[in-house]
Amino acid sequence: MNDGSMKAPVTGGGAGGSWEHYVDDRPYPDPAAADAPATRFDANASTGRLMLRRFLRHRLAVLGALFLGLSYLSLPFVDFLAPYGANERDVEHLYAPPQGVHLFHDGQFIGPFVYPTTGRPDLKDYRWRYETDDSRPMPLQFLCPGAPYRFLGLVESRVRLVCPPPGASLHLLGTDRLGRDMLSRLAIGAQLSLTVGLLGIAVSFAIGITLGGMAGYFGGWIDAGVQRLSEILKSLPELPLWLALSAAVPAQWSPVTVFLCISVILGLLDWPSLARAVRSRFLALREEDFVMAAELMGASPARIIRRHLLPNFASHLLASATLSIPAMILGETALSFLGLGLRPPATSWGVMLNDAQNLMAVETYPWVSLPMLPVILVVLSFNFFGDGLRDALDPYHGD
């Protein structure tokens, strides 16, 4: 009260006599605060900001997004990150168990190293047994030449992040029936397993948006036809049809072609629910005034759909896409597991799980079924991410 901004007491007068009071001479209302309504501090935050804030509150979704982001970003570099090639065989180590990386040997720090292992067939139990030689630590090598690969399919390279020390092996997650490194195969298999969903969803989107948009915009017999077709397709069991379609892919085609075909097949049956969502949104939006305005200005149907209608629910589509990718990833896994999807030498998680069909192998060498872990993690992440996205994209609704 006694700082310099206060004037001397003002003496007022009135019917009740006179009294002293103090007046702050700073302007009122405060011009700096005038812009911001005091009631809701969020009121002028942009929609994007609200979405982000809401998304970040969904902790599992953030976790899923981080995991997926990391996985997808590392896809181009998996060859560099993996210690072995996908089809590189280590005949000395068939069905070798996971090896640990150690830092200390006899209480002494020597950096990351492995102990060499030697395998011998156990003819009594009819399985491989491995013995670890604890006396010879073998330090790992970094940025070293390994099996050659093509970076991004273009540049030939041999440099890998980490290689096994000469004379020892580095099978962090063990090896499979043919002595191929599980970790490297998991990493390289991710390239196909993770992209098959993206390609599939692209196909499904192209069909779903086109048909759904046409049905919703034009109505009439186009609408009826698309509706019936999508109803029928929705009522058919997916997997048997996927099986039938992928059985039609000739066996002699190259792995890349087969991969593309499988993605298209996965996408071919997925569009009906998308088309229905697009259609219902179109039906609602078609009645809006801005569509009428665009029509009166002579915009073509294609332009109206593309420029005015689609952006209105693109975010909604994004969320539903995120939620249907896991089904495709699981679909690829199932098809390859049955031997009708991707085929060796292509490497994907489903192809790897094909080896896990043998219950005996799974019992004696449980690490063979490891590829199920990334499948579960990726599918869960997509589900959480999609859930979070769906909630966040509607920031003005609910809490």
Binding site: R228, L229, E231, I232, K234, S235, L236, P237, E238, L239, P240, L241, L243, A244, L245, A247, A248, P250, P326, L330, T333, A334, F337, L338, L340, L353, A356, Q357, L359, V362, E363, S369, M372, V375, I376, V379, L380, N383
Partner: protein, 343 residues
């Protein structure tokens, strides 16, 4: 009500027609057919004796005619070499791979397919109804979280792997039987209580595996619906008027939430049937799943075509039943649909 059922039955006819067309196109997608492959192989190996039979079969089953004609003969609306002999007349065609009529190949497996899927549907409803309701009533309690956790696992684990895992641990810890439909000792026995028990025991794992992801989805759906209903003013009114908790729950909110629960069978059934095909292959159950895989690999088109048709029919009939159940449950649908059918 009768009119409603009739209307739904009539709608099924064109649907089945389109489905059969789609299936016929799909099974004919691979280049060549079983018989021409066989004929080429016989020629290459110089076995002229088999040639005549293959050529005869080729003519007998009209594989030498244009595709459209083949289709019409297959469904039985066009005269084939021996007059009308198609699906509509009950002739399922010849399985080249097994060298038997299709009807003899699939035979009993059809029944088991139906039983397995029925068991899975029952499992889904019996488990997801109490679990979903509990999860909604006790939202954000341990029951809710447990249901969510089980749901996510069911959703994310590839079900063929789940089958293998459950099979392995079920056998190891609980002594549940591995694979097949009955114990070997009952194989050719007439039906008895002991045999039925053995069948039930064999059904446990497949049913759980097939039903799990569907259960997960159903629990989530029921929980969301019931939570919506429970937040409505009429529930508050009921509470204010002193309606006891259980009655307050079952009287209206549960009935309202039940509606989408029943109609959801439309999306549940296809995935269940898909799952049953896959699981049957993994667990070697005597359903049509393994036969389908075999037929698709060998381009045995009549066998795979019929199996795909049967699976689709199973789903469509299931949906019909669910529609009728829904109409019985909810007069609004019954009347609305009937009015639409009349107009």
């Amino acid at each position: 009500m009768l009119r409603f059922i009739l209307h739904r039955l009539l709608v099924m006819v064109p649907t089945l027609f389109v489905v059969s067309m789609l299936i016929f196109i799909v099974i004919n997608l691979p280049p060549g057919d079983y018989l021409s492959n066989q004929i080429a192989e016989l020629r290459a190996t110089g076995q002229e004796a088999g040639l005549a039979k293959a050529e005869f079969l080729r003519h007998e089953y009209a594989l030498d005619r244009p595709l459209a004609e083949q289709y019409l003969i297959w469904i039985g609306v066009w005269p084939g070499p021996n007059g009308f002999h198609g699906l509509l007349q009950g002739d399922l065609g010849w399985s080249f791979e097994f060298n038997k009529p299709v009807a003899a190949v699939v035979g009993e497996t059809l029944w088991f397919t139906v039983i397995l899927n029925l068991a899975a549907v029952l499992f889904v409803y019996l488990v997801s109804f109490p679990l979903g309701a509990l999860a909604a009533i006790r939202a954000n309690s341990w029951v809710d979280y447990l249901a969510a956790a089980v749901g996510y696992i069911g959703l994310a684990t590839p079900n063929f792997l789940l089958a293998l895992i459950l099979l392995y641990y079920g056998q190891k810890w609980l002594g549940l039987p591995i694979g097949g439909l009955v114990d070997a000792q009952y194989e050719d026995q007439p039906l008895s209580w002991a045999k039925a028990g053995s069948v039930l025991e064999h059904l446990i794992i497949p049913t759980i595996v097939i039903g799990l992801s569907g259960t997960a989805a159903m629990v989530r759906r029921l929980r969301a619906n019931l939570l919506d209903e429970l937040g409505k003013p009429y529930v508050v009114t009921a509470k204010a008027k002193g309606v006891p908790p259980l009655r307050r729950l079952t009287r209206y909110p549960l009935r309202m939430a039940l509606n989408p629960f029943v109609s959801d069978i439309g999306s549940l059934l296809p995935s269940l049937v898909s799952g049953s095909v896959l699981i049957s292959v993994v667990l070697s159950l005597p359903t049509i799943g393994p036969a389908l895989l075999e037929a698709l690999r060998a381009q045995d088109i009549f066998l795979s075509g019929f199996i795909l048709m049967f699976i689709s029919l199973l789903v469509l009939v299931g949906m019909l039943v669910s529609d009728i159940a829904l109409a019985l449950l909810d007069p609004r649908i019954r009347l609305g649909k009937a009015r639409k059918a009349q107009s």
